[in-house]
Amino acid sequence: MEMNALSADGIRARCRVDWPGFTLDVDLDLPGRGVTALFGHSGSGKTTLLRCIAGLERGVGEVLFKGTVWQDSAHGAFLPTHKRPLGYVFQEASLFPHLSVRRNLEFGRKRVGGQHRVSLDHAVELLGIGHLLERMPGGLSGGERQRVGIARALATSPELLLMDEPLAALDLKRKAEILPYLERLHDELDIPVLYVSHSPDEVARLADHVVLMEEGRVVASGGLGETLARLDLPLAFAEDAGVVIEATVGEHDARYHLTRLDFAGGSVFVARRPEAPGSRLRCRVHARDVSLARERVEGTSITNLLPATVTEIADADTPAHVLVRLEAEGTALIARITRRSLDQLQIETGLRMWAQIKAVALLG
């Protein structure tokens, strides 16, 4: 029942690709809104899956977009890529070198019939490329090229935006330059995005839904918060295991230059933020920055204390550590503590504890 509801306005991808030494075999229902990250190591099949959805790769299976059949191998149906209402951003911008930036932007746009939901001006403004319009792609920096590539895809008013590691070919500085534009995309346009990435940071910043892939298979698929907080996934084994919390700016403390962030289950103080009260912020709490106490600790420099209940205990990346999953009224937390502490504090599931949060990373 749930599946049907999802398929009607979501994306269904059942796909099998057999290559020598690699098999992609997935069966997925994805939400038709927000940003879905296809996350995994290189070789996990995430790009191949994206290309199957775009029709650039022709696997065996079916692809349905909001009830429209894009591919149905059982009935020999296959809609060629140029007839699918999608936008695609490649790892390298892949601009047409013989056309100016403006004519690159117009290339797809003028081939789309009907009304444009995204105006050219809006796409140009959103990616900040107004000053580049008359330039040729050969003279642009990598970051500029990629912004033009994204604007070019948006200018076709796609019903689905597919992005294949759009930041992977860029250095850290260029990444930092583009990420805010991607966040604006997420906030301002109501276009579902499938975003391929192997960077946990990008995923934590941009995604609403995560599909974790390994060796051509889907290991997990779910909301960002709940998926990151699962201890049974390889994500938890990464050095930077942690959770993502959607918070609202509560109030600013002028005297101490702090800002209170509220979320389901509590609130934390962080260094003063520029956002107005009521703004939404996404923050990441790493497992290594969370410690646990049986009693409310007095006389500590750590100001962020949350009551929470232990729900799960699992092995961590080293034998010396364990991961403890806690639930604080709807917000999950993961703490990475030593096995000795676990035994000394006699931590077990169901126990009410105090989580001390040493640091909160704000994601834009």
């Binding site: 140029h82 047409f96 070198p97 013989h98 797809g108 081939r111 789309v112 895809a153 076709t156």
Partner: protein
């Protein structure tokens, strides 16, 4: 000085080379596209057949074309059944022979240019709603333009320079099949060295200028 007969030979040569080049670009482009894109096991065979004129003595090519287009050959029977007569010793016959003879000089540069365009450009065009034919004309052809220029120049020059095939297929009919190279041969046979010199020097200069153009043209594309 150039005689009227020499001028007629030059005019005929230029006409033959022009018609041949136009036909070669039209016929060679799909072949080059197929060779650049196919994963068929026949790719090697077709590529080798196209390249044959590079190594065959022109007389061999001319001989088989003569047989094929003659009254008892398959092409000859076909053209006769259409009421066109047979092709050898006619200008159209020369054109057909020249197309075969110069085919690799057009197909190979265009094929290389197509291969250089790369799969990614085609994919990008497809994700921007361009169908295959649209992509070909709006992306592939502009990007492969240097290859087309090379192909046209080489095809033209190579056709101007042919001799053996013309002799086999066209014979030596003034105004119809007597091209410059044959005319030079005639002059030499008649011991008219001054006239032979004039035409030969012209050919030498023409060929040099063509190659100079190809070798000094910047390898970079016009838009950079």
């Amino acid at each position: 000085m150039l005689t009227e007969v020499d001028l007629a030979a030059i005019r005929l040569t230029l006409k033959l080379a022009t018609v041949t080049t136009v036909i070669l670009l039209i016929v060679g482009t799909p072949i080059a596209w197929w060779l650049a894109r196919t994963r068929s096991k026949w790719k090697g065979v077709v590529g080798a057949v196209v390249a044959l004129p590079l190594v065959l003595p022109p007389t061999v090519l001319g001989f088989y074309l003569l047989v094929a287009m003659g009254p008892n050959g398959p092409v000859g029977r076909f053209t006769e059944s259409l009421g066109l007569g047979t092709l050898p010793f006619t200008f159209p016959g020369l054109v057909v022979a020249s197309v075969f003879y110069s085919l690799p000089f057009v197909v190979q540069p265009v094929q290389n240019a197509f291969e250089a365009v790369g799969e990614r450009m085609l994919e990008a065009a497809a994700t921007l709603r361009a169908g295959p034919l649209d992509t070909f004309f709006s992306v592939v052809v502009p990007l492969a333009r240097p290859g087309f220029v090379t192909a046209a120049v080489l095809g033209f020059a190579h056709t101007v320079g042919e001799f053996g095939v013309v002799l086999m297929i066209g014979g030596n009919i003034p105004e119809k099949t007597r091209v410059v190279s044959v005319q030079i041969y005639d002059h030499v046979e008649a011991l008219e060295y001054a006239e032979a010199h004039l035409l030969s020097a012209g050919m030498l200069a023409f060929s040099f200028v063509v190659l100079l153009f190809l070798y000094t043209r910047k390898g970079v594309r016009a838009w950079k």
